[in-house]
Amino acid sequence: MSTDDLGHDDHPADGVLDDADLRVLAGLRRVLDAADPVPDDLVERSLFALSLEALHTQVMELQLLEVPELAVRGEATVEARTITFTAEPVTVMISLSVSPSGGVRVDGWAAPATRYEVELLRPGGSVRTESDDDGSFVLADVPPGPASLVLRHGSGTGVSTPVIEL
């Protein structure tokens, strides 16, 4: 009910914002947020795009070598499917299946067989693991959605897959 600090005639036109100004602006922001909320995933999507962009300056992008027909992005369920990528001299094959929790299990093999650092980039973060000496690795449970796999070996140039829909 108190309107005592409102409506001053001598409100400075170009001064520091006072508390009442800040309250009005905060209210305005609330209303704008309610009227037209920023999509929940926009920040994460943008950050994902940026991390991929940064990545492309550091790694070689693998080309899709072979993709069975089932691998067309399944909307309802994740089909078990195998995708192969290559960029001389590295070849990466991944097999996707449904994890017990309903997420996605990624089984991967990389050649030439050696120990790779494996990173799965996705909006909202990344998951890391390591392959064994034979180049095989497992990401047991990752959320569905767009993702890109990055493999690095020692100090050599890394490789990354294009964005795939898990």
Binding site: M1, S2, T3, D5, L6, G7, H8, H11, P12, A13, D14, G15, L17, A20, D21, R23, V24, L25, A26, G27, L28, R29, R30, V31, L32, D33, A34, A35, D36, V38, P39, L42, V43, R45, S46, L47, A49, L50, E53, A54
Partner: protein
């Protein structure tokens, strides 16, 4: 340049707020540090969203536009001459990209159907799919605030919308978005806030 990015007296000078953090993010990014840029994406995305939406871009497309602005930003980061102008760069890019999106859609619409809403008076500010007078605000005070806000001249609405969405944006960024002279921004901001507060003073209980 001073590297203590968190310090208040660092290389970007005394200015604080979003414009300063945008500048610091560019400097850090050139330096190979991406943390400040990620923080900037989190903080400034709502502002860019509003800039794009206020140009009449649909929600789905606006999301793509905002994401595209961020991509363009990092691609341009090495060549943005004045890191200090980074926030201005962002909003100018967002506004341009929004214009292009709208022009593109209008072009499509012209080819496929008759144009609706040509010259709609509030096209600049009104979201095409959600008229502001139907805003569902959580509380009555905010609904009153919105009604009063809509009584302000369009220029005031633009400025305050911008100031509300950004923590202390610099005047250059506001000037770019609103088409005002930089020197007029501070005065306009003050007058518009005073006007809004005067309108609110006629309401009971807004500012409890």
């Amino acid at each position: 340049m001073n590297r203590t990015a968190g310090s208040t007296a660092d290389g970007v000078g005394e200015r604080t707020g979003l414009a300063a953090r945008a500048a610091a993010a560019v400097v850090a990014f050139r330096d190979g540090r991406t943390g400040p840029l990620e923080d900037l994406v989190r903080e400034a995305t709502p502002l860019l969203w509003n800039v794009v939406r206020s140009q009449g871009v649909e929600r789905d497309e606006a999301a793509d536009v905002v994401q595209g602005v961020w991509l363009a930003f990092v691609r341009s980061a090495p060549t943005i001459r004045e890191a200090d102008a980074a926030l201005k760069w962002l909003v100018v890019s967002a506004r341009r990209a929004a214009w292009q999106a709208v022009a593109h859609r209008r072009g499509d619409a012209r080819r496929t159907t008759t144009l609706e809403d040509e010259g709609a008076p509030y096209g600049q500010l009104r979201s095409p799919d959600r008229p502001p007078d139907e805003v569902v605000a959580a509380d009555e005070r905010d609904r009153r605030l919105w009604r009063r806000f809509l009584l302000l001249p369009e220029r005031c609405q633009q400025v305050l919308r911008f100031v509300a969405m950004a923590d202390r944006p610099d005047y250059r960024a506001i000037a770019e978005v609103t088409g005002m002279q930089v020197t007029a921004v501070g005065v306009t901001r003050g007058r518009c806030l005073a006007k809004l507060r005067a309108l609110l003073a006629t309401e009971e209980g807004w500012d409890a």
